[in-house]
Amino acid sequence: MQAADVRQWLADNGITSVQVQATNLDGTFIGKTLSCDKFLGALDQGVAFADVVFGNDLGNFPILGVAFPSWRGELEDIFLRPDLGTLCVWRPGVAAAIGDFWTSEGDPVGVCPRNLLRKVTAQAAELGYGVTAAVEIEATIFEEPVQEARAKGYQGLTPLGGTAGSAYVLGKSADWREYLEAVEERLRSVGIAWEAWNDEAAVGQVEVNVPVGDIVDVADRWARTRQVMREVAYELGHSVTFMAKWSDAWGQASHLNVSLADTEGNAFYSPEGASEVMRHFIGGVMAAMAGTTSLALPFITSYRRLVPLEGPPTTITWGHHNKSTAVRAVTGHPAYSRIEYRLPGSDANVYLVAAAVAGAGLYGVINRVEPPAPFAGMAWGLPEGSVEQVPATISQAAAALEADKILPEVLGEEFVTYWLGTRRWEWIAFHTMGGGDLDAGLTAWESARYFELV
């Protein structure tokens, strides 16, 4: 669309303001609401944001200790350029567009999550592949309004829908259905494709599935669907969290399904099982898995989810049709052949994880990286030392990323160095700003920091 077309589109849809949207490194949905004229005037240059978009932590404290990239200075401006392909009616009278951050010199900001994912898909396109994905969103909904949740320090809340166990239960109370049907209706009205929703394993936990599509589009829908889930919860007087673990109950994930497509169709498909492309893709993904953990499990709380036998992977393994491994290879189907990357918590920024996984997979395809042997059997409860474990803390994961040789090549040195600085700060902040003892279970510091923002 050209500017004149956008102006007409805004008028045709009765739009009086436009929300520009993005995620920060922590996955928080951020943006500004603009008048239509301001939005139209920012189509080329973008909308100015202070560089602290990528410079402050979830407590709004400056993240220091890293070498500043060129776009960071004395609170320099960076610019969010709307991607007009994402323009939609967000609510009556309000439009929305997702954007990417650019520097004042006109270069893409090297740590912008969406830029990184677009860079990887551009590389895939050069190789003749499209990257397709689907993502699962897990969250816990509470009866209490968010104001009450805040007043209670996010403790002692009542999961919506009763405390009956099991999963996939249809016999939930009406308030639970009312919430999810409202989410569904809102997604439909915005034009965000959804596939399914259901009751999940822990009390109050739900899963919403973002269907398969181009990986950037899927990440956009992931970000927007989570925002819709928050907005609907607040409108109905409830609260919601995407923390990987909000209590001692089962954790929450963001399983990411990825495959490559070429002119022949699904490039992972072979009648014999995994195609050569899929095998090498898995080879790259597995080689970078320990380092990718820092992105898939970005916060202190993320690691509390890694409880063997509860569902999340705890080992650096892959297997055919095996959900106890970190990567489940779904093979033998001309349409559905894919990997399911099961490591990310529900608190991960899917743009970043998708960029790392797809990028590492492409690295494997380009360099013909052979994967380790597929793991057979249950990948939990194994004898110590028999299988490499997923890094168990934010600091272990940072060390693994620092040692990784693939991800700097895939995501850029600038991003990896900067990200490591942010994770070191998260570790320091937890310990020195009131977090407490990691061994003592979920802390008030974690709830206060993560409940509303991840």
């Binding site: 220091l64 890293v66 070498a67 960071r72 200075g73 310990h431 003892d437 990691l438």
Partner: protein, 197 residues
């Protein structure tokens, strides 16, 4: 002689760095050799805690409180101050956790040595000691950062005391001349020293 557990916390690393400074002093090194037993230390200002285990030849620093231990207070200002106690191991720990400050020039030289040439770190670091009206310059060129302060404050900050270099600036312990990018790099350099670099 001074060891830490695997995957140590910031407090564990900082205590270990402090103990390493102590064992460079002969009488404090002897004190380590004379001490057996453990002491659990609990911060008086936040939830951090750590345990020092002495075995007559060295010290293992680990996070948390030893099972059943009666913790001893640990204060950070000045860093570190162990609370009143009659326990001989805790009293030894108190001495070992407050070693004499190095001369600010020595601390500055180590600070420079650890981080010079790393991305973002200034090419020239100027330390200005106020009471001595003295200046110490490391490196050369126009990419310069200045840190001003009294000798003991410079020595404390540059040898890794205080949780965050930003606090040292924010609370006026030292003052600085330079850019935000330099400040960020200095924070990283300070943690490198604080955590044992």
């Amino acid at each position: 002689m001074i060891a830490t557990e695997a995957d140590p916390t910031p407090l564990v690393l900082s205590l270990a760095r402090t103990l390493r400074a102590s064992v460079r002093v002969p009488e404090l090194r002897d004190l380590v050799a004379q001490t057996n037993g453990s002491v659990s230390l609990k911060s008086v200002t936040d939830a951090q805690s750590a345990t020092l285990t002495f075995d007559g030849s060295g010290v293992l620093v680990s996070h948390g409180l030893a099972f059943g231990a009666e913790p001893v207070d640990l204060a950070f200002d000045p860093e570190y101050t162990v609370g009143e106690t009659a326990d001989p191991v805790a009293r030894a720990a108190a001495k070992l956790l407050s070693p004499p400050l190095p001369d600010w020039r020595v601390a500055g030289a180590h600070f420079w040595e650890v981080s010079q040439g790393t991305p973002g770190f200034p090419g020239r670091l100027v330390l200005v000691c106020l009471e001595e009206e003295a200046e110490l310059v490391f490196g050369e060129g126009d990419d310069v950062y200045e840190v001003h302060g009294y000798g003991p404050a410079l020595a404390a900050v540059l040898s890794g005391q205080i949780d965050h270099f930003l606090y040292a600036v924010g609370f006026g312990v030292v003052s600085v001349v330079g850019s935000g990018a330099h400040l960020s790099a200095m924070c990283g350099a300070h943690w490198k020293v604080r955590f044992g670099g």
